[in-house]
């Protein structure tokens, strides 16, 4: 594992609540969850840059929605 650097992160109360809830659900530390989020963001961004689309599909409603990423 590469050397790690430390940073201070300022979150709003709702953002912190979501982070804590997701950490609890996934059984991950808040740091581990944020690292996963960065990896996922980079992966999605790389695939979108290749021209792929990110879709959510609701099989019951036979509906697909494209997720747009900043």
């Amino acid at each position: 594992m590469a050397n790690k650097k430390t940073m201070t992160l300022n979150l709003t109360e709702p953002e912190m609540q979501v982070l804590e809830e997701l950490s609890r659900q996934k059984e991950l530390s808040k740091t581990a969850l944020l690292r996963q989020a960065i990896r996922l963001y980079q992966l999605v961004d790389a695939r979108l840059a290749r021209g792929e689309k990110l879709l959510f599909e609701d099989e019951k409603k036979k509906a697909k929605a494209e997720l747009m990423i900043l």
Binding site: M1, K26, E27, L28, A32, R35, R39, L40, L43
Partner: protein
């Protein structure tokens, strides 16, 4: 990361000290394509032509091409590991940290390390070398790579959980050697067998 690991010299049965590393480059991918693939293809040809060879022994990964994964070297979600001994790549693995979750009922939805590809050099695969009428060189290479995935899983906070789709020719290794749990066939992935480590199984496997 670069750490010593023991693999087995099949000619003596003795352990030798190889190196596990994660600084995989495109040159390593080219090494697999230039030095491994011709041997795998030749073994597949001979086994397919032999009436005596069991169909299950034919290497189904003869078409793999690691060089196609070059663009993934920069992705944080993708980790490559290799094992080197005497200047030669003996095994290589691609593992992913996002996009896959546990399927076993007792840990469904929990994060895991997904082993997307794992290949050992053809001279370390008994069925391939038998087809080529040559001795197998080194053992325990695949085991050391799976151990690396478990250790990464622990470091990521995934508690050792690892999952993979096993090729038919590798099911014995993952189920009997690694003692992973067979969860079921995945129709979305060529009906390959999905295998998974629980934290308890993972810790037993790496001997912690």
């Amino acid at each position: 990361m670069k750490i010593p690991v023991e693999i087995i010299d099949r000619s003596t049965g003795e352990p030798v000290r190889a190196t596990l590393f994660d600084a995989i480059t495109v040159e390593h991918f080219m090494e697999t394509q230039n030095e491994w693939r011709p041997l795998v293809l030749e073994a597949a040809r001979r086994q397919a032509a032999s009436a005596q060879a069991a169909r299950a022994d034919i290497p189904v990964h003869f078409h793999w091409d690691w060089t196609r994964k070059e663009s993934q070297l920069a992705l944080l979600a993708v980790h490559f590991y290799g094992i080197e001994y005497l200047g030669k790549l003996q095994g290589i693995m691609k593992a992913e940290t996002v996009g896959h979750v546990c399927r076993l009922p007792e840990q469904r939805g929990k994060p895991l390390i997904y082993i997307d590809y794992l290949e050992v050099a053809p001279w370390n695969v008994k069925s391939i070398m038998e087809a080529l009428a040559k001795p197998t060189r080194y053992g325990a290479v695949g085991t050391r790579l799976v151990e690396a995935a478990v250790r990464q899983s622990i470091e990521e906070g995934f508690k050792g959980r690892v999952g993979l789709h096993s090729l038919a020719t590798s099911e014995y290794f993952y189920l009997e050697v690694c003692e992973m749990t067979p969860v079921g066939r995945d129709p979305g992935k060529q009906n390959l067998l999905w295998c998974e480590f629980t934290p308890e199984q993972a810790l037993i496997f790496v001997g912690d």
